[in-house]
């Protein structure tokens, strides 16, 4: 379990602002800023954060849909961050992605059988009757009727389309599956079906997963460890249960307290932290700790020094947080200012 399949080292991704935006030309969106983490074989690493925190960009850099600005992505000991497209091909087979939008990620003019069969053809793994058999096995595995081989995506519902996307992604038995908000576009009752399917597949195929979502309850359900991102930085990373019960970073606390809980009794009993304002612009991120302008615990140092992502308060070695004044268990988020 502890062997790492993938390591991300000081990954940075900046996008230039569009040229037609005259006043901002020459500026950059700091989408991902110096992120390091490892993904262990067989685990599910959850990546949570709000819109614009860089979680999807990080995933796209890992799978090399985007070129890195700097930093490294190391897959089984091999640095893949600067490989050419053809050198990358053998790795692509082993890293696959499931997207959020089951409508946008399938070509509407192609039959489902050929969509799911693409990976086999591209990598020259099967053809003819053999291809058809393998595609139908896959359809069966993800809960689609293999007789629907010749249908078009439009003839399937949203949940079934997501199953098609999953079948395509696991066709080549990848080691790493990156799921980018795979259930966000689905209705509640269908969402549970897909989450259960992903869990089953992970066990059966021994997949390592990176699961990206803005929905903390979903991430909690599927993940072994969870990394919380804010404005391009990982601000806390911990085993799932630890993160939910012993969150150290004030932002994580606020995020947890904002999850709507479908239970009015629990809802009124818990600590409510409502943050003020919106996340600042990733074009000119705040100095020091990026959360300091909204943080109820911030002091002068928070605006000056960026806190490193390290162990805090004698936690387990797996629990890291980037905060100068981490919250202790049972401590209220807003504390009395110290005399200094």
């Amino acid at each position: 379990m502890t062997e790492s399949l993938l390591r991300v080292e000081h990954l940075v991704k900046h996008f230039p602002t569009t040229a037609r935006d005259f006043f901002r030309s020459g500026q950059h969106v700091h989408a991902v800023d110096d992120v390091s983490l490892d993904v262990r074989r067989g685990e599910t690493l959850g990546l949570v954060g709000e819109t614009g925190c860089g979680k999807s960009t990080l995933a796209r850099c890992i799978i090399r849909l985007e070129r890195l600005t700097s930093g490294r992505v190391v897959f089984e000991g091999h640095d893949i961050s600067s490989l050419s497209d053809s050198e990358l091909r053998p790795y692509r087979r082993r890293m696959q992605m499931v997207f959020q939008d089951p409508y946008g990620s399938l070509n509407p003019r192609r039959r489902v059988g050929s969509i799911i069969g693409d990976p086999f053809e591209i990598h020259g793994m099967a053809s003819g009757a053999e291809l058809r058999r393998r595609v139908q096995d896959l359809m069966d595995l993800v809960g689609l009727n293999p007789e629907h081989y010749n249908r078009f995506p439009a003839q399937f519902s949203g949940g079934q389309r997501q199953r098609i996307g999953i079948a395509r992604a696991i066709a080549l038995r990848p080691d790493l599956l990156i799921c980018d908000e795979p259930v966000s576009a689905l209705d509640v009752s269908i969402r549970a079906q897909i989450l259960n399917l992903l869990r089953e597949l992970q066990r059966e195929l021994r997949l390592t997963m990176i699961f990206i979502s803005h929905d903390l309850s979903v991430v909690r359900h599927v993940s072994d460890r969870i990394a919380v991102m804010y404005l391009g930085k990982v601000i806390e990373i911990a085993p799932g249960a630890n993160l939910f019960e012993h969150a150290r970073h004030p932002y994580t606390r606020a995020l947890l307290s904002a999850i709507p809980i479908p239970d009015p009794d629990l809802d009124s009993a818990r600590e409510q932290i409502v943050l003020s304002g919106d996340p600042p612009s990733p074009i000119e991120p705040p100095s020091g700790c990026r959360f300091h302008p909204r943080c109820p615990r911030a002091e002068r140092i928070c605006g000056v020094d960026e806190p490193p992502l390290i162990e805090r308060l004698l936690d387990s070695r797996d629990h890291l947080a980037a905060c100068h004044f981490p919250v202790a268990d049972g401590e209220a988020l807003v504390r009395e200012k110290s005399a200094t």
Binding site: E50, T51, S157, G159, Q160, D187, V188, S189, I190, R191, A192, Q193, L195, N196, R199, E200, H214, D215, L216, S217, V218, R220, H221, V222, G240, A241, F244, A254, L255, L256, S257, A258, I259, P260, I261, P262, D263, P264, D265, D267, Q272, V274, L275, S276, G277, D278
Partner: protein, 328 residues
Amino acid sequence: MNGSLLAVRDLSVSFQTPDGVVEAVRGVSFNVERGKTLGIVGESGSGKSVATQTVAGLTRGARISGQAIFEGRDLLKMSPAELRALRGPGIAMIFQNPLSSLHPFYRIGWQIAEMIRAHESVSGDAARRRAIDLLGLVGIPQPEKRLDDYPHQFSGGMLQRAMIAMALALQPRLLIADEPTTALDVTVQAQIVRLMQRLQGELGMAIIMITHDLGVIAGMADEVFVMYAGQIMEQASRYGLFRQPSHPYTTGLLGSLPRVTASDEPLTAIAGQPPSLIHPPSGCPFHPRCPQVMERCSHETPAFFAVPDSEPHRSACWLLDPASVGQE
């Protein structure tokens, strides 16, 4: 019935489409009490939005039957001009996407002031001052400056606030909020929910909160009903609904939700797909997916039965019929 602001009786709405007649809402009745919050939960296509849009006169071209009595007058029989006069001071709506309610070419403050001037004869200056007050009320910082911003200069959460400001400009008695927080991040969602609760306390309006998110409903509704395939399945106080869910669809929905207090169990998903509304299933619309389906469910539409020990709480399910005990 004393405090009832809106009473909807047997509302049905259908649309003619190239594929056939879509029966979006099928015989829905409910009350909204003054100053209270009614939550409507349902998945895509359950009819939750169509039902409320019809009440506000926004479903043109639909075939509508039933009644919607608002302060003694039937909304469904009003002329477009009467409805226009009522929308704003009587009933206001906010939507999931604030950009659908704000024109991108006009300044935010101007749009709010214009809305006030369309209904009341006040000077431009007075309307502008009211717009500033309203933006302040919904928590926009420096409202006297932000008044002259265009919609694209606002963030998603701020636009949602601006839309709420506009909806509240004429102090409506009823605010219909259709998935107002669905497009927002959780921390911003918490801000908006809190804002709506505060404003409800200050202005005393009733709210119909439409959402697919049971968590949002649990936090703010006084009464909740669950819709499926154009019908109400279950209706209860929020405590009744979450402590003692009765209808198999409601329990299925609750079981489908991953909890923050996670266990390692798989979720108890509801099998199958929501039905087509062109040919809705006979009998109980949920029967093809129901784990507790009985013989009569496929051909007899269940009546509402009171859920014991949880008043006021009713559920459209044959399982509650004393006569069906032993039929499983």
